[in-house]
Amino acid sequence: MLLERLIKIFTSLRLTVVLLGLSLVLVFAGTLGEVHLGLYKAQAEFFHSFFICWHPQNAAWKIPVFPGGYFIGTLLLLNLIAAHTSRFKFSREKIGLWIIHAGLILLILGQISTDMLAVESQMHLRVGQTKNYSESDRVSELAVINTTDKIFDTVVAIPERFLAQRNDIRQANLPFVIRVKQFYANSSLSTNAMTSFERTGATAGSGTGLWWRREPRETATDRRDAPSALVEIVTPQGSLGTWLVSDWFEQSQTFDFNGHGYRLQLCPERFYLPFSLHLLEFRHDVYNGTDIPKNFSSRLTLIRPNTGERREVLIYMNNPLRYEGKTFYQASFDPDNQGTILQVVKNPGWLTPYLACGLVATGMVIQFLSHLIPFLRRRRTT
């Protein structure tokens, strides 16, 4: 029976060895690949994928050449669970092994959940600045903000991958269509004609009279892409013009339609928080007489409007702020020491590696003792 054969393959130890061998090759290749692709692209292509694909220059087709991280990881997990349930009957002698395997399964499941659920972002604060949001350092979004209401702004945040598809974007809250005519994932703008720059073709807003060009994607970890897009706002009564939206623009662009005011801005993806952080002071202490850093710390006020909570917190190296399911780490700072950059990590599965390692360690100790103790007993009686 096919099912029998499949189960036999999945429970085999040989499969485990093969998969572990493949993962060694994968890690090696991924490390080398990082040199050219940069950290994030290498991670995405080698590890956050089912297959590593190869394609000749400028070809649209590609073929899978090697299993990727997700493929190997999933098979390892299935193999582990299959072997575990089929081979080990639950008994007192085998309890140690059970715990070890449970720990390993928890570790892999924890890593899958981290991959799927964890969100990392950054919060850049200058001294005296207050922010209630953090920003992605890799992904941008087009924010279309309805500013008509006196108390609330309604934000429609469109992730950049929608712009990359160069289609029409329709959304229930928007009474117009956003027609994406061009999108550059990384771009440069210029106020005058330079080589390889083209006119943006914008007919309204800040982009009229500007020139732009596509740039290759950033691969360094400390630099990010600056995308730009040419969008046309199409209403039932006609077009409101073609606008250039760009990460380079610090100000948003405004227009009116049907008595409503709107703002348009392409900026790093924002994650709003139910509280604000206000930077009081950033310290960059060095050892006396040297340039060697001794301490980086940010002193902040945490303000929570709906509960009235308002307290001072100190974030420094190895001492993050854990609040509301997010962890705020001291990550970087502005060269003039008047600004701090906090890394904001949301990872619901953060405890799983600790629990998993604890389980594996406990299982190993139990397994070891379950052999040692009878051995010692036998020695004593002979």
């Binding site: 999945f10 130890l13 299935l78 349930t85 309604t154 959304q171 106020t191 080589t195 307290r311 702020l321």
Partner: protein
């Protein structure tokens, strides 16, 4: 390795488990969709000092007075420019002059100079080299740095030059650039420097109150013991 077939219940369980995990793994792309949310107006205006500052800069455009050098003509300024001029020389040589104020650090001086170097086909310079290249001049009555960047137009290989001046004051960065044919720009350099010296900044209305919703800086209404207070959640 067991060669006996598994009991039926076990194999069904394995089957289902495998399928479930595969689905979970495949669905785990975590792709973002369009988000819609509401922000209290105070949030969106006070959440960023830069935004507030640039909005105010947009509303109260800093004004500039200048003495136009001989041979220069003023041309309509585009969105990012406060003022725009052009000058023409012999044999169709042209140069373009722009005045662009931007809030804050506007990317940093070194990054901008290296970007201009790239535009005339030069390689990036280190911060030390850039510091040596900068000439100190005056814009209005304030100090500024001038960078003389000769190169060539990467497309046509004709000699091109950029004179770029960066000045910081009042939390704004002012860029004054003359770009064009190398010979003409070199000839116009004294006129450019004199133009910059003649500039008068009409002070923009400086906001002396904080953006709405901003907590008082210094936090005088907080009862926090010395040394800060750390919660058990830290």
């Amino acid at each position: 390795m067991s060669s006996m077939p598994l009991p039926a219940k076990r194999s069904v369980l394995l089957n289902r488990l495998g399928l479930m995990l595969l689905t979970v793994a495949l669905a785990g792309c975590g792709r973002e969709n369009i988000k819609v949310y509401r922000l209290a107006k105070d949030d969106s205006s006070s959440s960023s000092n830069e935004m507030a500052a640039s909005n105010q800069a947009g509303a109260v455009q800093p004004q500039l007075q200048w003495t136009l050098p001989a041979g220069w003509t003023e041309v309509p300024a585009t969105e990012m420019r406060l003022a725009s001029f052009k000058v023409q020389g012999k044999d169709g040589a042209q140069a373009d002059i722009s005045v662009v104020p931007l809030p804050g650090m506007a990317g940093g001086d070194d990054a901008n100079v290296n970007r201009w170097r790239g535009q005339v086909g030069l390689a990036e310079a280190t911060p030390d080299e850039l510091q040596k290249m900068a000439e100190q001049i005056e814009v209005g009555d304030q100090p500024a740095k001038l960078y003389d960047i000769p190169g060539h137009n990467p497309g046509s290989d004709s000699a091109m030059r950029i004179l770029a001046v960066i000045q910081h004051h009042d939390n704004m960065t002012w860029f004054f650039k003359m770009t064009g044919d190398s010979g003409l720009v070199e000839q116009q350099k004294p006129a450019f420097v004199a133009f910059l010296k003649s500039l008068k900044f009409t002070a923009a209305a400086q906001p002396d109150e904080l953006p709405p919703g901003h907590p008082p800086i210094g936090g005088t209404d907080m009862n926090v013991p010395m040394g800060g207070r750390r919660d058990s959640t830290n």
